[in-house]
Amino acid sequence: MSQVENRFEAVSGAVWRCLGSEIGLVLRRRRNQVLLAGLAALPIVIGLAVKLVSSQVGGGAGLITRITNSGLFLAAVVFVVSMPLFLPLVISVVAGDALASETQLGTTRYAMILPVSRTKWLAMKAVGLLAFVIVGVATVLVVSLVAGFALFGINGMTLLSGDTISPWAGVGRIALMSVYVVASELGLVAVGLFISSLTDVPIVAMAGTAIVPAVCTVLLAVPQLQAIQPGLLTYHWLDLTTFLFAQPDVALIRQGLVVQLAWVAVFGSLAWARVASTDVKA
């Protein structure tokens, strides 16, 4: 057969087609869209609540007052509120599902015999998850800004350090904050992929992943564990407030990123070892 020979060659653009397909699969999935809708609802709910409370009480304390002064603060508050719980939960669902659901459906074996290399399989899953995290955080960002402006107006932003910056500079700060939020979830994505590779029951992987940040948060409250706390997944999560100061603490941010990279390195390697070595189940 003459066409046999060139059947082994990769066609051009194959990588992009593959990633596009995977990202499409993640973002078009109805369940994931519901999760994104949930994320989008968060700023609206918080914004309306603040609006109601402030009109009744007439000014409050801390961040809430700041929201009423500048809609930009709504995004900051939403990130701070969703960072410890809501966002990790949503990401755990999608990350835990990533490999386990395909194993459960049996689609993994059909990918393997195309063939798709094990490394590529893991990489495309990771990219799909990253896309979901970015879209999720971007959704929160955009909806927060729109809701904030609509409810509280476009005003300059008075930072926690007391300085006031222009609305555009404020948008810049919030955007930086959202990038840090995305980066802060990378470790969790790697953990989710690893746990997802251990089982063919998606719900187990989802729960297992969601427990990890919760456990980290509990450990942060134990004073005896001070020595290991800086390495915990969640240790630097709330440092995103540093972007609300005139001079953000760059060292702190760097530490936060290093912790995430370390978790990605460890759990990414574990996931790879697992995916590359085991029999394809079911």
């Binding site: 066609v11 194959a14 593959c18 195309l114 063939p115």
Partner: protein
């Protein structure tokens, strides 16, 4: 069954295994099999439930690692040469598997998108052709979870047929298909065979594949107990005589047959099966009439694959524990 018998086919084999072993815990699911699937054959891979057919197929495709032995596909070692070999292979293993919330067509498109050697310029056309070939064109846009069992099975086969293949491995392809669908799959296999492809088709229903196979391999409890061409198998068959008499004369008939040194078999006393051997049929007929048996039917039968299987294994077609 001596493997030396098959030395002539090994030379031109598409699939070869030597001493292939796979264990699950203590259980040996595949127990040292030497498979040789000749190029251009339709290879019926037969055996009862749990005999190790699917496990063998998964080993061939690199989905499982072997505990011992070697595997060659197109004379290249598996799983080492997987990236070179597998594009030439289409397979349905242990039932179809697709995303329930995607349509049949979208599912096939997804397979094409993650296959780096699949040409995107012709992807759509090949998809449509594959769906056409399995008779799913009308249901192409339906979500997969609305498919019937047979439609799912057809989509699985379409997935294997989206590209020209030199080898097709179909694990129980007629599972869940209606008689018409089963016939269509048989015709599909004939068509692939005519195009020069080698087809391995596993089944526990012997009669289903008997008609299309050129070769068979028979598994039993993890062992390959026979591997032959259908022609060899046919010549090896011993014809039997089916004797049907009225029940009141059954005992007399049985006596007459035993007197001729024949061994009547069969569960129904009034319907006996005898291996004829050297005794001429007219002589048997006369003996029966002389004994006063009222003959309802007398015919020479060629045993089917199933009878041969029973002969080979001595156990019948039951699940091994």
């Amino acid at each position: 069954m001596s493997q030396a018998d098959d030395a002539n086919v090994t030379a031109d084999a598409v699939v070869t295994t030597t001493g292939l072993v796979r264990r699950f815990g203590k259980q040996v699911a595949v127990d040292g099999i030497d498979l040789a699937v000749p190029s251009g054959s339709v290879f019926g891979f037969l055996g009862p439930n749990g005999s190790g057919k699917t496990t063998t197929i998964r080993l061939l495709l690199g989905l499982l690692g072997a505990d011992a032995g070697t595997i060659q596909l197109f004379s290249q070692p598996m799983p080492k040469a997987a990236s070179k070999v597998l594009p030439r292979v289409g397979a349905v293993v242990e039932g179809p598997a697709f995303f329930p919330y995607l349509s049949g067509d979208a599912n096939l498109a997804r397979l094409q998108a993650i296959d780096k050697t699949d040409d995107p310029r012709t992807a759509r056309v090949r998809r449509a052709e594959a769906l056409e070939r399995v008779g799913l064109t009308a249901a192409a846009r339906k979500p997969y979870h609305h498919y019937s069992l047979g439609m799912k099975q057809r989509l699985g086969i379409a997935g294997a047929l989206m590209r020209p293949r030199d080898l097709l491995i179909l694990d129980e392809p007629t599972n869940g298909l209606d008689p018409q669908g089963t016939r269509e799959i048989r015709n599909l296999i004939r068509g692939l065979h005519a195009d020069g492809a080698t087809v391995i088709v596993s089944s526990h229903l012997l009669s289903e594949v008997e008609q299309v196979c050129t070769h068979v391999g028979i598994m039993s409890r993890g062992r390959l107990i026979a591997q032959k061409s259908m022609d060899d198998l046919r010549t090896a068959r011993v014809p039997r005589l089916s004797v049907q008499v009225t029940s009141s004369t059954a005992t007399a008939a049985r006596k007459a047959l035993t007197k001729l040194k024949l061994k009547p078999e069969g569960t129904d006393p009034a319907h006996m099966l005898v291996t004829i051997g050297d005794v001429p049929v007219p002589k048997i007929a006369k003996a029966l009439v002389d004994a006063g048996a009222d003959i309802l039917g007398l015919s020479v039968e060629q045993p089917g694959l199933e009878d041969i299987f029973v002969e080979l294994t001595g156990v019948g077609f039951d699940v091994a524990g």
